[in-house]
């Protein structure tokens, strides 16, 4: 019998770890990698810019999850949002090509013959501040990162940590970004 091809899944953490909470996506993916590095078909990447830089990473994956910080100004710090790629509007009138929006980058990838993912979700963590240099993450965002990790683990049907010893999820004392 022909063996079914393994689904290739990728989780990308986007952010900048010298801008405090802006590094939330990076910290989240580091934590996920530590927990699930041995999970078959699942890989992890850190990225610092969006747009075409992401194309190289997402090529040849079936499912991609992007984790980033966001400032909507309407949510509480640490609040988590989940979006589909289609919910993002394509940009008109760029002034910086390195920040090509994700939707346009995906369309470009399809035109260029990249093997684009069939599923593409975005998880975002609300932050308040991304313009002050710091290598520390606020308590609210740290908590949000832990919540996001648990939610993502559930959404991707990954085993929650410490299941075998009866613990569910991760508590606030779990190792997390400084």
């Amino acid at each position: 019998m022909k063996k079914k091809r393994e689904i290739k899944r990728l989780v990308i953490g986007l952010g900048n770890t010298i801008l405090g909470d802006d590094g939330a996506g990076i910290y989240a993916v580091r934590e996920l990698k530590e927990r699930y590095h041995s999970e078959r078909g699942l890989s992890f990447e850190e990225a610092s810019t969006g747009g075409i830089g992401l194309l190289d990473l997402i090529d040849n994956h079936d499912e991609v999850v992007l984790i980033d910080a966001i400032i909507t100004g309407k949510g509480q710090p640490g609040q988590i949002y989940r979006m589909e790629i289609d919910e993002l509007r394509p940009a008109k009138g760029l002034i910086d090509p390195h920040h090509l929006d994700i939707r346009t980058a995906c369309t470009l990838g399809e035109r260029l013959g990249y093997n684009m993912p069939k599923k593409f979700w975005i998880y975002a963590i609300e932050i308040e501040e991304d313009k002050v240099f710091s290598d520390h993450v606020s308590d609210a965002v740290r908590k949000g990162i832990l919540n996001l990790i648990n939610q993502l683990s559930t959404d991707l049907s990954l085993p929650l940590p410490h299941q075998d010893n009866g613990q569910k999820g991760c508590d606030e004392g779990h190792s997390s970004p400084k």
């Binding site: 900048n16 610092s48 940009a91 009138g93 910086d96 390195h98 260029l112 313009k131």
Partner: protein, 486 residues
């Protein structure tokens, strides 16, 4: 815990690429101000850290110019540790730098600049992008751009471990050399880059300078700005992106300053205005004259057009021929802001030829990649020509090597006041009696894009785009109209 939302593209726009246009009582343009995001606390963040951490930290400042920051920082370390890189290390650094030039210039030209011309300045903004260009001229060009980018980034990765944010950078050397078995890939890439550079220039000359309407637009009054220019030159006054002396020419093309970058404080003044976080730069010996153009100004520009104006020529043969052709068409000095694009493509050719030369240099794969004969000085000023213009890193440390002072001057800082002037000139043609005519945003964006201003700084932002926003205000500061892509 989780809910679905639709994000408005302006969510994280505040401060990014924002322009404020002020009208006088007659409803005419009085002033235009260009504002960018303020990232606070960088000096505080650095103070007390070991100075050798800087080449690893500074690429994170900017998602657009990480390699220039990395190299400028490493050069500052050379001075702090009083050590010169070995010849092989210098070749490796220059290879990294040239690879960055090729990649960056083509992404700018094909993704940002070419849609205005290939699709036309009046084209629907929804189609005036790289996808529109692909539809019009074919997929092959985009594939070539992406392939050149992929290969040049591979070279950066080879040297500095990560192309987006290089991690290497050691005083007197490089952390990793080039192996002989890697030379073939580098030579192939360099050859491909030279061929593509020639193709890009031909496309530019055929499609843009061969089109009278576009040529008229390029040399039109709104895109003409008379300033001084500053850039690095080598011993023969040719363009050099990695090192050299800073040369300044006046609006008539005459040399008025020639100095080592370590003396930058004697020549470059930094001026604070209440409407911007950017410290505006000006020629110190002339004094601050305000945001004006012409023979009376003390403002200067940096970047490709500035390098064209300050240098007597290019450092490589094919680029030299292209330079001579540009001189024959536009003369020197050139004050046409849209000519930045032409100069940029000639530079990509020089960088590609330079890559070719380095790739074939037997010394490239030498084992002597680090000079550790340190003579600690505690002060270092590193300067390179980033793709967008002169970049200066100035560090000082205590006798333990811990940072006590940091000052950076970036390209967009040099160009900030001229960008405001360019916007003002463009806006003038579109605003009469307080009425804003259609098409203003298009034209202002074109001037703005020519400078390739680096607004990315360290933030990457969801949803990932970064539109320009223009507020038009009356004298009292009330917003009359906001122009933005939505």
């Amino acid at each position: 815990m989780s809910r679905k939302i639709t994000i408005n593209p302006v969510t994280r726009l505040e401060g990014h690429g924002k322009i404020e246009v002020f009208l006088n009582e007659k409803g005419e343009v009085e002033d235009a101000y260009f504002q960018v995001t303020e990232l606070r606390g960088f000096e505080k963040f650095c103070i007390g850290r070991p100075v050798e951490e800087m080449p690893r930290i500074v690429p994170n400042i900017c998602g657009v110019c990480p390699t220039p920051h990395n190299i400028a920082s490493t050069k500052a370390l050379d001075y702090i540790f009083g050590v010169a890189p070995t010849p092989t290390a210098k070749l490796v650094r220059k290879l990294q730098f040239c690879a960055n030039y090729v990649e960056d210039h083509y992404i700018h030209f094909f993704f940002l600049a070419s849609p205005d011309f290939i699709m036309g300045p009046e084209a629907n903004p929804a189609e005036r992008n790289i996808l529109g260009v692909i539809n019009k001229v074919g997929l092959d060009i985009a594939k070539q751009v992406i392939e050149v980018r992929r290969r040049t980034r591979e070279i950066i990765k080879l040297i500095a471990s990560k192309p987006a944010h290089p991690e290497g950078g050691l005083p007197g050397g490089v952390p990793r050399g080039i192996k002989e078995e890697e030379r073939g890939f580098i030579i192939d890439t360099a050859n491909q880059c030279v061929a593509f550079a020639q193709f890009a220039l031909k496309l530019f000359k055929d499609e843009i300078y061969g089109n009278k309407d576009y040529l008229d637009l390029i040399v039109s009054h709104p895109y003409h700005l008379k300033t001084y220019y500053m850039g690095l030159v080598d011993d023969y006054n040719r363009q050099n992106y990695y090192e050299g002396m800073l040369r300044v020419v006046d609006p008539n093309g005459r040399e008025v300053a020639f100095f080592h970058p370590r003396d930058y404080k004697d020549y470059i003044g930094e001026w604070v205005e209440p409407w911007t976080y950017i410290r505006l730069t000006y020629l110190k010996k002339l004094g601050w004259k305000g945001i004006i153009e012409g023979d009376e100004t003390s403002l200067y520009r940096v970047g490709p057009l500035a390098r064209y104006n300050v240098a007597d020529g290019m450092a490589t043969p094919l680029a030299q021929k292209e330079y001579e052709y540009m001189v024959s068409v536009l003369g020197k000095p050139v004050h046409h802001t849209l000519a930045y694009h032409w100069a940029r493509l000639i530079e990509a050719l020089q960088a590609a030829e330079e890559m070719q030369r380095i790739a074939n240099d037997p010394m490239l794969t030498g084992k002597d990649i680090r000079n550790m004969n340190y003579q600690f000085t505690g002060k270092g000023i590193g300067c390179v020509e980033a793709c967008r213009g002169v970049l200066i890193h100035h560090y000082e440390s205590d006798d333990r090597g811990l940072i006590t002072k940091v000052n950076l001057i970036v390209a967009t800082q040099h160009n900030a006041a001229p960008i405001a002037l360019s916007v003002k000139k463009d806006a003038n043609g579109f605003i009469k009696d307080g009425d804003v005519k259609e098409g203003m945003l298009n034209r202002v964006e074109m001037a703005f894009r020519a400078y390739d201003p680096c607004l990315g700084c360290a933030t990457h932002s969801l949803p990932g785009n970064m539109p320009l926003m223009i507020n038009i205000r009356n004298r009292e500061g009330k917003v009359l109209k906001t122009l933005i892509r939505d």
